[in-house]
């Protein structure tokens, strides 16, 4: 599996990157799992805010009113009122940082509103100018800052115990402790890890983490911790904190062992492979193996829920002109499913059993975002949506070869808008410069 090396971070400037290449950032409303993801619709070009006036000779902090000229994720290109069509003093600002306020906040907070030095003599009567410019214009909701603050609180806390996939044996889970929470991303440390380095990164809404007891409840393999001494302050994370899956009725027509399908390879997310249902578990979960690369003991099976957007009916790739990775060692290429099913004496999983919802996600080809490299889940990188197939996105990591691209679901909690790292304090991996890659 391909994974990228960590690149030393110079100060990457999203604003300059977006402007110099005339790029578009995916709207925050595309990401339901991020702060403000469900109430970003009111933020648009033309909305007025009160921000610090950086164009001043005064020693004290003063503010001025600015309008949103362009938005890219959480970042907005702002222009102070009075500059009209002059963009020379435009500046990029993360709208969710504390120093962005609705118009009116200065007056209610006793903060001075002072026009920028560059244009302070442009109007003899700023009051008349502002009344004309602002009347009927939009501004931020009065509860905007409160909402941002609420949205930056996370229910997962350090020392909470969860069950998580064992990164060395995908077919089983292990107990891990929450060691760090940043922007909803968790750094988990497997319970047996003596030095605290055996870790696993994922988002708190990841389908890979579950409450204690989940594996036993659905018949999933589990590696018992042989930890004798419990760390003080540990607690099992409440089941309410975990992503709910859809209840399914397995009593009727259902998946069976041996049925064939197509699945994103969790060890190589750039590939959708020929796969087989190896074991049907409870609550709609399935153990799936990639054809041609299965260890005899099933240790490389992996668990997807039947509603997972990462599994597809036979023929999905062909219909959507996606390359399907054939089983290793299967020589009749290109693979023809009819021949393969006959050669293997198997049947395809019925199409109607698969999740066919296609959310109105809002992503468009070419949009910029911050995406987790799922082969190195610590890393959140500058990325681009390069292809869209229904709810499936092809994510390209800027500056890296296409072979590092990954298929990711539009609702994946591992995709973030421009500016999310700055907002949460997470380190962003900039586009790979040629030298760094080499």
């Amino acid at each position: 599996a391909k994974s990228k090396a960590v690149i030393p971070v110079e100060s990457f400037d999203w604003g300059r990157y977006i402007c110099s290449n005339n790029l578009v950032g995916a709207p925050v409303s595309c990401f339901k799992h991020v702060p403000m993801g469900t109430c970003w619709g009111d933020i648009s070009e033309g909305v007025r805010v009160e921000v610090i006036n950086s164009d001043t000779a005064l020693s004290t902090k003063v503010y001025w009113i600015a309008g949103i000229v362009k938005i890219a994720g959480f970042q907005a290109l702002l222009r102070y009122e009075g500059f009209d069509s002059d963009s020379s003093k435009d500046f990029w600002y993360n709208l969710c940082v504390p120093e962005v306020h609705p118009v009116g906040w200065c007056a209610s907070s006793g903060k001075p509103l002072v026009p920028p030095k560059t244009i302070q003599h442009k109007y003899s009567n700023w009051k008349a100018f502002l009344v004309k410019r602002l009347t009927g214009a939009k501004t931020l909701p009065p509860d905007f800052a409160t909402k941002v603050h609420e949205n930056l609180q996370y229910p997962f806390k350090k020392l909470m115990r969860v069950e998580v996939v064992d990164k060395t044996h995908l077919c089983r889970t292990r107990v891990a402790l929450v060691e760090q929470v940043t922007g909803g991303r968790l750094r988990l440390v497997y319970e047996e890890s003596q030095d605290g380095t055996d870790d696993f990164w994922c988002h708190m809404h990841s389908p890979l983490i579950h409450c204690i007891g989940w594996s036993r409840s659905i018949g999933h393999r589990f590696k018992r911790s042989d930890v004798s001494k419990k760390v003080e302050g540990q607690m099992d994370a409440s089941p309410q904190l975990f992503q709910k899956v859809k209840d399914v009725d397995q009593s009727g027509e259902w998946f069976k062992d041996g049925m064939k399908l197509e699945a994103i390879d969790p060890l190589n997310l750039s590939a959708i492979c020929v796969a087989t249902v190896r074991k049907v578990l409870a609550d709609g979960y399935l153990m799936i193996g990639i054809d041609g690369s299965e260890a005899a003991d099933g240790s490389d099976w992996f668990c997807y829920h039947s509603c997972s957007p990462s599994i597809f009916p036979v023929g999905f790739c062909e219909i959507n002109s996606i390359e399907l990775t054939p089983p290793r060692g299967y020589t009749k290429l290109p693979l023809n499913w009819f021949d393969y099913l006959r050669d293997t004496g198997s049947i395809a999983a019925p199409v109607k059993l698969f999740n066919q919802d296609v959310p109105n996600h809002g992503f468009q080809q070419g949009m910029k975002l911050e995406a987790v490299d799922l082969m190195e889940p610590r890393l959140v990188c500058v990325a681009t949506v390069t292809r869209i197939v229904h709810r499936l996105l092809r994510i390209h990591f800027d500056g890296w070869e296409d072979e590092y691209d990954q298929w990711v679901d539009c609702r994946s909690p591992d995709l973030y808008p421009v500016g999310w790292c700055q907002l949460t304090g997470y380190q962003l991996q900039p586009p790979a410069a040629q030298s760094a890659r080499e």
Partner: protein, 34 residues
């Protein structure tokens, strides 16, 4: 579901205080539906 559907745009009297004195303008801001 999106919270946006539970919000609506309202006209608000907004106070502005500059060196020339204090005045108000009517602007739009969204607010949670009461």
């Amino acid at each position: 579901g999106s919270e946006a559907s539970s919000r609506k745009w309202e006209q608000k009297q907004v106070q502005i205080k500059t060196l020339e004195g204090e005045f108000s303008v009517t602007m739009w801001a969204s607010d949670a539906k009461k």
